[in-house]
Subunit: 362 residues, 2 copies
């Protein structure tokens, strides 16, 4: 670990991260509401979307109030929220209440399955809790405390994983590197850059603006500004132009999903860059907390097709006629041969090594 507080692991990585990635800015519970940090107005405003029900939370996720790793954090906090609602008598006290909530959230963002898998892990633990409650003896903590314990445990484990991936990521970065990135690659990418920076390596980022929400121009740029790292916003299709000029040393992105056979799923645009990287012999590295161990092959991936209308206007300004047809496949599937390394908490792995390091689950 590269960052320790007084000789031991810090309790939270929040203090290291750019504001936008701090847990309280992603989601928090306040006065019976679940508040989701609204990334759509960044970098100008950082308000919260106020949700009083699971349906409202799912709607906010569907409408992209947060994205990338945001839904995972929202999902975990939602479980705390549900426990509180049960305690206040506003929801039924049963495992089904939790299961229903998780189902609703998972349906809101079907491609990134990290949230789904994490929430189902909590459900497994909770299920045992409810079964034990029936025999009455082990139920020595209240539900809110119990759920909070499980969630905190998971959060710490994720933080630990992020730090490891940051270390592995930075080891792949050399002094003077120009790095291309797409969308908002969040914790692992930012921690990689911070570690590289700390080691005195100078880096420069070219970031795809990432239509139609401009996560690159708005979120990645905002985070990099805070870290004091040089960056230049470019069009979503300009990566190859820079590669052709010899200006890119590596391409780094998050991965919304990795299958057991080494396919990487990430924001649309990643595939085009990955193919160009291969053409110009530039390495492509994808960060992934873990593969989706339930997905043996790419055929099991469910790719979210979003409403094409999102391409027809920006804020209140129409770009073109609202009646025109637009098609918006929001994620690319990148084949293993185009990915040099998948940076996981177990180390940087070649796509074909994934199945050696992770066990298939059904």
């Amino acid at each position: 670990m590269f960052i320790r507080g007084k000789g031991r692991m810090i309790k939270s990585i929040d203090q290291l991260l750019p504001t936008i990635l701090q847990k309280e800015k992603i989601v928090k519970i306040e006065n019976n509401y679940l508040l989701i940090g609204d990334r759509r107005e960044l970098p100008f405003k950082n308000d919260y979307v106020k949700c009083s029900s699971i349906d409202e939370i799912a709607k906010a996720l569907k409408e992209m109030a947060t994205q990338g790793g945001g839904p995972l954090q929202v999902g975990l906090t939602t479980l705390n929220f549900v426990a509180q609602q049960i305690e206040k008598g506003k929801m039924a006290d049963s495992i089904n209440t939790f299961i229903k909530a998780v189902h609703t959230l998972v349906q809101a963002r079907p491609t990134n399955t990290t949230m789904a898998r994490s929430l189902y892990k909590v459900i497994d633990r909770l299920s045992m809790h409810y079964q034990c409650s029936l025999i009455a003896t082990v139920n020595d903590v209240d539900l809110v405390t119990f759920v909070n314990q499980i969630v905190t445990e998971l959060e710490h484990s994720f933080d630990n994983d992020y730090l490891k991936m940051g270390e592995y990521g930075s080891s792949l970065i050399e002094d003077g590197f120009s790095i291309l990135t797409t969308c908002f690659a969040e914790h692992s990418f930012m921690l990689s850059l911070m570690k590289a920076q700390k080691e005195g390596k100078k880096v420069e980022i070219y970031l795809n603006e990432t239509r139609p929400y401009f996560q690159g121009s708005r979120l990645t740029a905002f985070a990099l500004e805070e870290l004091g790292i040089d960056f230049h916003i470019i069009g979503d299709s300009a990566g190859s132009n820079l590669m052709n000029l010899g200006k890119i040393d590596c391409y780094m992105t998050a991965a919304d999903l990795v299958t057991m056979d080494g396919y990487v799923v990430n924001k649309v645009g990643t595939l085009a860059n990955a193919i160009s990287c291969s053409y110009y012999s530039i390495p492509y590295y994808a960060f992934a907390m873990s593969p989706d161990t339930t997905k043996e092959t790419k055929d099991e991936i469910e790719v979210e097709i979003r409403d094409g209308k999102e391409f027809l206007s920006w804020k209140n300004e129409p770009i073109t006629k609202q009646t025109y047809s637009a098609y918006y496949p929001s994620f690319d599937i990148i084949e293993p041969s185009l990915v040099d390394l998948i940076i996981t908490p177990k180390g940087p792995l070649k796509p074909k090594q994934i199945s050696d390091h992770y066990l298939k689950e059904s």
Copy 2:
């Protein structure tokens, strides 16, 4: 020729083309003003930018009031405008007045050299006219008529070329094709589609929206709507996603410039698609009126780097902080091995055949 009016060639192809490509919509002279059709407000408005001087015309070109083949047409009409101004005594009657005007226009859009080469051709003819004027005997037509004759002659020759390229283009399109395109490929592409349509071939277009001006979403979509051809707007980096799904049969674009050694210059984003086409074995065809016979190799290409700020807002809505750095190389250079055919008036040529069909000029 596939389109004939009453058994002979039509005089102008305007009546065939979608409104946006008709000469009067691109540029016209009215009441001492040169009016440039403002494509920036399309498809909502189609007003004109009113110019009273060469500097104002150059400014409108620089600010993208028109683009693609637009500047060529504006350049030719500007020569008529200069002749009229000379006749009215508002400009000096000398070949230098024309040369200065042409220099100013050429500097406004340095990458697409078709305008430059065409205007210099007119200058050569005019130069002879001025020399002959000195010996007084051959000057039997006034300047306005003379310039107009040369310009009209060139326009007819271009129209003829467009029609030929439309024929060659359509011969490469099969019934049921899905065609990817970037930016606004104008006359040759539209005529190819119209000819294909006329022959009963059903086609469907996927068009890159083309940031930061959205020429795809606004201009190509508008023209295709008028022609009644099905289209879907997609993000600038989504082409590969569709190729991966087997949804694209060929990629067709204009070419702002072709060098004698077969390099194609076109809107940024073309290279990424061309590399992906090569990866998925999908043909890429570029339309070019002719190579730039003065450019022997790609090293002689001057690529326009535009202001990155154009990526930071849309109309009055800021996308992100206006202080952020953005980099906007507006054109890609595509190497010959990535281009299947360059569709010229001399037929579809392999990039390496260009130098066999065109003579190098200095």
